[in-house]
């Protein structure tokens, strides 16, 4: 009897580093959780109105980084990241979003745990957010 196996859909994106692949010299591709991690990072760092003719893409996270570095701002950033991902990234099911503020270095550390829809593995992506213009 043949074993039933689920074939997972592969997500495949290009890398914006534009480095050639060391093996075949083609453009480097990234896939699955790496592609999605990259997408989440993009969504959080794009400011509204940045994408032409699509004002609703992006988040206010960049603007919030210039607020006071305290737990309240961290909470707001957390909410904003959650909203952004739920609204713009249909591939993931959010498990947890946590933002910690580090006053001494004036940065926020965002940790996002998610599942790719249809898969069981929980992926974690961590990003240090620093205000810079």
């Amino acid at each position: 009897m043949t074993e039933l196996r689920r074939k997972d859909k592969t997500f495949k994106d290009i890398s914006l580093t534009f480095n050639p692949s060391p093996i075949n010299g083609d453009l480097t591709t990234i896939s699955d959780d790496r592609a999605i991690n990259n997408s989440i990072k993009n969504l959080c760092l794009i400011k509204p109105n940045e994408v032409p003719f699509q004002r609703d893409i992006g988040s206010n996270v960049t603007a919030l980084l210039f607020e006071f570095n305290d737990s309240f701002t961290a909470e707001v950033i957390e909410q904003e990241i959650r909203r952004t991902i739920n609204f713009n990234e249909p591939r993931v099911e959010l498990q947890e979003v946590r933002v910690d503020n580090k006053e001494e270095t004036y940065e926020f550390i965002a940790t996002i745990k998610y599942k790719i829809i249809g898969r069981e593995t929980v992926f974690t992506v961590q990003q240090i957010l620093t205000p810079s213009r």
């Binding site: 990259n38 997408s39 993009n42 969504l43 893409i57 591939r91």
Partner: protein, 747 residues
Amino acid sequence: MSGPINLTEVDFDQIKENLISYLKSTKQFTDYDFRGSNLQVILNLIAYQAQLNAYSTNMVANESFLASSSIRKNVVANARTIGYVPRSSRSATTTFDLSIQLRADNYPQGFPKTLTILPGRIALVKNGSASLTFNINQPEVASVSSTGYCEFLDVRIYEGVLLSNTFVVDYSEFNQKFILENINIDTTSLLVEVQEDPNQNEVKPYIEAGNFVELTGESRTYWIEEVDKKYYELVFGDGFFGRKLNNGSKIFVSYISSNAELGNGIQSTSNYTFIGTVNDSFNNKVSESMVIDTVGITEGGSSIEDESSIKFRAPREYAAQSRCVVSEDYETLVRKVFPAVDAVYAYGGETLPIPEYGRVYIAIKPKTGNKLSNLTKKYIKDSLDPFRVASLDINIVDPLILNIELNSMVYYDELKTRKDSYAIVSLVNESLENFKKSTTTPNFGGAIRYSKLIGAIDDADYSITRNETTMTMRRDITVVLNTDATYEICFDQFIESNKDVSTLYSSGFFLELNNIRDLKTYYFENDPKTIRYERNVETDFNELVSDVYCFYFNELNEKVRVNFISKPKTELKDLIGKNSSTSVKRLEIQDAGSGFKPADSLFNVPTTSNGSGTGLKVDLLVDSQGNIAAVTPSIDNLGLNYNAGDVITVNSPKENYKAATFIVVELNDGTGIVPFGKLYHERGELLLGYELDNGINFISTSNQDNIIEVRSTPNNNDIVADRDVYINLDIAKSTIQAIIDTEVSTS
């Protein structure tokens, strides 16, 4: 297999869709349709760039043609290729009369022979909100009388500030341009003078180039062109067409910078203060002050031509080729010579009911007021002279302004809207304003179509279910106060001839009746009971006529008619008028006799007491036996001194008639009630006071500015403007009400 990338769209989303379709077909990547993916970043970039390119290409193509260009610089440049110079600002202008009395003690040696007003500022004028300067552009000279009195008549003045520029021609400068950096220039006021030789002080006037074929290499001419930012550039000849300027020549330019429409509509000498400089013939400045005697209304000020007007007029002026041939040519050229017109309509005299060949009529509605002054009409007529076809006479007429008022009941379904009745009325008003502005309802030569009008009301809001609308025509008549006069008021539309209600009525006015001025407010309306057919002696057709009577309201608010009694006439010709049979009271054949021939006439030479003339003529209708069957009195070669009520006996049959005949004609003494006016329904003409002995003496009107509003109901649903009729949909004076439609099914 991957297909081609379709990049024919100009819309960002569409371009991106096409790129995504392409990526789908390649199967290399999967993340192209997720918003945060890197591929999306790349796709956004490519789509944005493609869209920008498509937009630029589209704009370049659009801006290359007059009809589609939108940037002023390009519109002007496209118009220039067909020889059209956009009209500049125009100064308001008028004429005034000035006088001055010189004092003898200032001139012990005798008065100067002439006085001269120097060009430049001449008057400060208040327009209610600002103070404007008026100028003259050339010296005005007038002679001084032996008593030291001097009068300047019809001095033309222009609103604005007189400015000047000087340029020096410099060959070392590549592509030197002479640009007048002022957007308010009235180019018609330009005075260009050139000091051709830098070493000699002599300056020569240059004129704007006209007909190209008349130019030689020595013609002192310039061209004016609009360049960037609404500035104007002076261009001089190249030595073949127009004189070429030498290196070092100096160009002196003076012009008026105008305030456009701000200077229009000012009258009354009290608004004017003379500030000009007057020199006498000894070249001394005159110290006595100048008095402004009369001044006309200022008109003609207008802003620089806008882009839509350039796009409209340039091809038409090119089509007219600076010649007035067809009626559109006149319209185009009138706007060129006198820009401050709201609407203009030209028609040939041959289209009149009584054709006048060789005449062109131009009806002009100015931007301010309803009609042009006689001086302006003359100016326009003179300005059209170089363009007109020889032998064609131009007549400029005032437009017959026909206001259309609406009485509209608008029904709406309250379940379909959250707006209240006021909001619905305001939407209907807005929709009607748009209807008025639309090109389908031109003021001259257009028509107000009832079906379109009620359609516009229905379309004002989704919730409007229907409307019941009636149209009323209104003419505003300016009456002459305290003067006996008759009035002819034309609607040029068939006025309804309803036998139950009046279809023409007026606003209030005050009258002098029998030399008594009372405080009653009088009105007039047509009497529906008097509607009848009358023969028009000019056309020999019957036409619908009704009498118009005058009335006032008594304390019980009842209409009280005012009867006008015509006095007996002292001259037979007045009594009989055009229709002699109505003036004959009695006609009697005392002894008919016999032996007459058909179409015989009898004449009576009046007795000497009745004065000169051959008098009365009686046409005979003769039967086959030679007997008189009927007689028709008429007048032939009237004498004077007939008296009303005279009895004339025609008793002088010629010798070849068999028997003597006595026909007694007793003339009507003419007394009786006469109507206040007469309404000719079919041609829409109202004659007031024609039947009265002295006409009508209005002493005041209920409305301001001596205006009586005359309203009438049109017979037809559509109101068509013919010839000089200017249709104005008067929304401000219309009555529009909105109510909930109770007949709408709410299921």
